[in-house]
C-alpha cells in the first residue's frame, strides 16, 4: 500500500435524482479528503445522503457532477468492466443486511470473491482461514449462514469484504440489524482491523454512541457536509 496521499479525494460531488419536474439533490457539492489508514464515520439524519455518498465512493453509482479519486485513480473515467474489477480488487463493501449466499458455508462465502480474483486454491484457502480467524469465526467456518447468528453473519460479510485486502472498506450501517452487544463486537472488530492492519474504513452510522470509534466524523444534512470533526482537520 502506498503511504501518504489521500485515499479518497472528492470535489463538488453531486448526485441529483430527477423525478418528473422536481429534482432531489441527494448530494449537493461535497468536498472531502480522507487520508489512508483513517476510520471515518459518516453521520446524519435519515435521508441526508449518507448512503448516496457511500454508493459514489463504492462505485455503485456515478456522480452527476464532481471529481472523485480513490486510491489515486480517477474513478469517474472507468468503464463498467473496470469499475467491477476495481470493486473486486480495491474495495470491500459491507451492507446493512449480510446478504450471504445461503447455500455456501462461511468459508465458501469468503472464498467466492478471492477465487474470482484468480488466486490459486491453496492461496484462497489460506487467506480465507486467516481472515475468518481474524473476525473470530475460526470454529464457524463450515457453518451455513442459516446456522449462524446475525452478528456472526455480519462478521462473515466483513471477512468477505476484506479477503481481497481492499484499499478501502465501506460499511453502510453494518450494525443496524444487530443488538448492542453484537454491534459492539462488530465495531470493535472494524476498529481493530483499522488499527492493526492500517485498513482505511468509511462507515455510515446514525447511532450517536458509534462516534467514539471514529477518527473523524463527517456530518451530512440535505446532501451537504455541515460539520467535520476529527484528526487533522479542525472544525
Amino acid at each position: 500500500m502506498r503511504s501518504g496521499g489521500n485515499m479518497i479525494r472528492g470535489e463538488g460531488l453531486t448526485r441529483i435524482y430527477r423525478m418528473g419536474a422536481s429534482e432531489v439533490r441527494a448530494l449537493d457539492g461535497v468536498d472531502l479528503n480522507i487520508p489512508r489508514g483513517e476510520f471515518v464515520g459518516v453521520m446524519g439524519a435519515s435521508g441526508s445522503g449518507k448512503s448516496t455518498l457511500l454508493h459514489m465512493i463504492g462505485l455503485l453509482d456515478r456522480p452527476t457532477a464532481g471529481v472523485l479519486e480513490i486510491d489515486g485513480v480517477d474513478v469517474t473515467r472507468l468503464s463498467e468492466r473496470q469499475r467491477t474489477l476495481f470493486r473486486l480488487n480495491r474495495l470491500g463493501y459491507v451492507f446493512q443486511d449480510y446478504a450471504l449466499v445461503p447455500e455456501l458455508t462461511a468459508q465458501e462465502n469468503v472464498y467466492l470473491p478471492s477465487k474470482v480474483r484468480g488466486m490459486s486454491v491453496r492461496e484462497c484457502n489460506l487467506v480465507c482461514q486467516d481472515i475468518l480467524e481474524r473476525v473470530g469465526l475460526k470454529d464457524r467456518m463450515n457453518f451455513l449462514p442459516g446456522e449462524m447468528s446475525g452478528g456472526e453473519q455480519q462478521r462473515v460479510a466483513i471477512a468477505r469484504a476484506l479477503v481481497n485486502r481492499p484499499a478501502l472498506l465501506l460499511a453502510d450501517e453494518p450494525c443496524a440489524n444487530l443488538d448492542t452487544k453484537n454491534s459492539v463486537l462488530i465495531l470493535d472488530l472494524i476498529r481493530s482491523l483499522n488499527r492493526e492492519l492500517g485498513q482505511t474504513v468509511m462507515m455510515v452510522s446514525h447511532e450517536e454512541w458509534h462516534r467514539q470509534y471514529f477518527d473523524r466524523v463527517i456530518f451530512l444534512r440535505d446532501g451537504k457536509i455541515v460539520d467535520e470533526v476529527g484528526a487533522g482537520s479542525a472544525p
Partner: protein, 400 residues
C-alpha cells in the same frame, strides 16, 4: 477467463447440492418426460412405417414387381421366367399372377373387384396371403373352381352398413358367379375369407391361375411376377441384378409402387411430429425458464450484493446456464431410463395398430437430435432470465 467458469461451476455445484431438492426433482422429471416425448412419438411413427412397409411387401407387392415389356399385355413364358428369376442369387422365390377386373355376383348383388389368379404353392413362398385366411382354407394346388374372397369385399349381412360395394355377407361354402371381361361366366365356391388389413387383399378375389387359364383360353397367362428377395432395403440393387441377368420385362421395386401412399402417410405423421416436438421443447424452455427466473428474482438482492462486491454478472449468468445444463443432463438421463422402461413394457404388451403390432423403431440420429435440441433449449432457458435480471442497476437490485 477459464477461471470464471471454474468459479461458476463451484458456485453451481453448491447451489444444487444445498438447494431445494423438491423443485429440482420435479424439474428434472418434467425434462425426462419431455425427452421421452421427443423420442417416443417419432419412434412409434417410424415403427408404423416399418410395419406398413413390411405389410406392403408381404401382402401387396413382394420386393420386386415384374411387368410385361413395353407395349405388351402379357409376360411371355412366365413359368420359364419364374424359373430363371428363382435362379438369380439373392432371390428367395418368385410367383406369377394374372390380374383382371371382373364382375362378381352373389345373391343378386354385383361388384367389380380385382380378380387375381395365383399359383397357390409358389405364392406361399413369396407372399403371406396364405397367412391372412380368416375363415375357411387357403387354395391348394389341386383345387379348381374355388375362390378366396377378401373380407371387405365379402361384406356383412347388412350391406347398407358397408362403406364400399360388397357382396352382402358371402361366407365360406357359398357360391359366387364371376363374369370375366371376355364375357365368360363361371361359378366359384368360396373356400376362404382373407383379412390382411390391406385393400389389395381385402378387396380382391383370388383364384387358381389354372382356372384363369381355362377362362382365357391360354396355357400360361400372367401379367405380373412378384419376387421375394433375401434382404429388404437392397431392392433397387436387386432390380439391377435382375436386369443384368437378362430379365427384359419392366421391373419395379415395392417402394416405386407405394411411394406416393407412403409419402402421404409419413407426411401427415410428420406434421403431428413437428407439432409434438415443438410443444415438448416449449414446455422444456418454459419450465427451466420459470425455475431459474424464480430463483433469480428470489435472490435479486443477494445477486446485487455479489455484483457490488465485484463479481461480474457474466459469472452469475454462467452459473445459471450450468444449472440449466445440470437439469438437462439429469432430465435426459432420467428420460432415457424412462424410455427403456416404456420400451420393455411395449415389448411385452405391444401397441396393436390396424396393420398389426407396432414396435417403436429407435434411431440414434433421432436420439442425438433430441438430446441436442434439449441442450440448446436449456442453455437458452438458463441464459435469458439471468441475462435479463442482471441487466438492472446494482443499486436497484440492492434496494429491492
Amino acid at each position: 477467463m477459464l477461471e470464471e467458469e471454474q468459479v461458476a461451476l463451484y458456485l453451481t455445484a453448491r447451489l444444487i447440492a444445498r438447494g431445494n431438492k423438491g423443485t429440482l426433482f420435479l424439474t428434472i422429471m418434467i425434462l425426462a418426460m419431455v425427452f421421452v416425448n421427443l423420442v417416443f412419438l417419432p419412434s412409434i411413427i417410424a415403427g408404423v412405417v416399418v410395419l406398413f412397409n413390411q405389410r406392403t411387401i408381404d401382402y401387396s407387392y413382394g420386393n420386386l414387381i415384374v411387368e410385361p415389356r413395353p407395349g405388351e399385355l402379357r409376360i411371355e413364358n412366365p413359368s420359364q421366367l419364374v424359373q430363371k428369376i428363382n435362379g438369380i442369387p439373392g432371390v428367395v422365390a418368385s410367383t406369377p399372377r394374372y390380374s383382371t377386373g371382373a364382375t362378381v355376383v352373389f345373391r343378386g348383388r354385383s361388384t367389380s373387384p380385382l380378380v387375381i389368379g395365383i399359383d397357390p404353392a409358389r405364392e406361399q413362398e413369396v407372399m403371406r396371403i396364405f397367412a391372412s385366411v380368416q375363415s375357411g382354407d387357403y387354395l391348394s394346388p389341386s383345387d379348381t373352381g374355388e375362390a378366396l374372397v377378401g373380407e371387405t369385399l365379402a361384406g356383412s349381412d347388412d350391406p347398407e352398413g358397408d362403406s364400399t360395394p360388397t357382396l352382402g355377407g358371402v361366407v365360406v361354402g357359398k357360391t359366387i358367379e364371376i363374369t370375366f371381361p371376355n364375357g365368360f361366366t363361371q361359378a366359384f365356391r368360396v373356400k376362404g375369407i382373407l383379412k390382411a388389413g390391406t385393400s389389395s387383399v381385402d378387396n380382391a378375389v383370388f383364384l387358381h391361375r389354372r382356372d384363369m387359364a381355362r377362362v382365357l383360353g391360354e396355357a400360361d397367362p400372367a401379367n405380373t411376377i412378384l419376387v421375394r428377395t433375401e434382404t429388404t432395403g437392397k431392392d433397387a440393387e436387386m432390380r439391377l441384378t435382375l436386369m443384368q441377368y437378362g430379365v427384359q420385362e419392366k421391373i419395379w421395386t415395392w417402394q416405386d409402387k407405394s411411394a406416393e401412399f407412403l409419402a402421404s402417410i409419413v407426411g401427415s405423421f410428420g406434421i403431428i411430429n413437428v407439432i409434438s416436438t415443438l410443444v415438448s421443447l416449449i414446455i422444456a424452455v418454459v419450465v427451466i425458464f420459470i425455475v431459474i427466473f424464480i430463483s433469480i428474482v428470489y435472490r435479486r438482492r443477494q445477486i446485487g450484493i455479489l455484483r457490488a462486491i465485484g463479481i461480474d454478472r457474466s459469472l452469475i449468468i454462467k452459473s445459471y446456464i450450468l444449472q440449466a445444463l445440470f437439469i438437462c443432463t439429469c432430465g435426459t438421463l432420467a428420460g432415457g431410463m424412462l424410455l427403456i422402461a416404456v420400451l420393455q413394457y411395449l415389448a411385452v404388451n405391444p401397441l396393436i395398430f390396424p396393420g398389426g403390432p407396432v414396435q417403436p423403431a429407435l434411431e440414434t440420429g433421432l436420439i442425438a437430435q433430441s438430446v441436442l435440441s434439449l441442450y440448446i433449449v436449456s442453455v437458452l432457458a438458463g441464459y435469458l432470465p439471468s441475462w435479463l435480471t442482471t441487466r438492472e442497476e446494482i443499486l436497484d437490485a440492492i434496494r429491492g
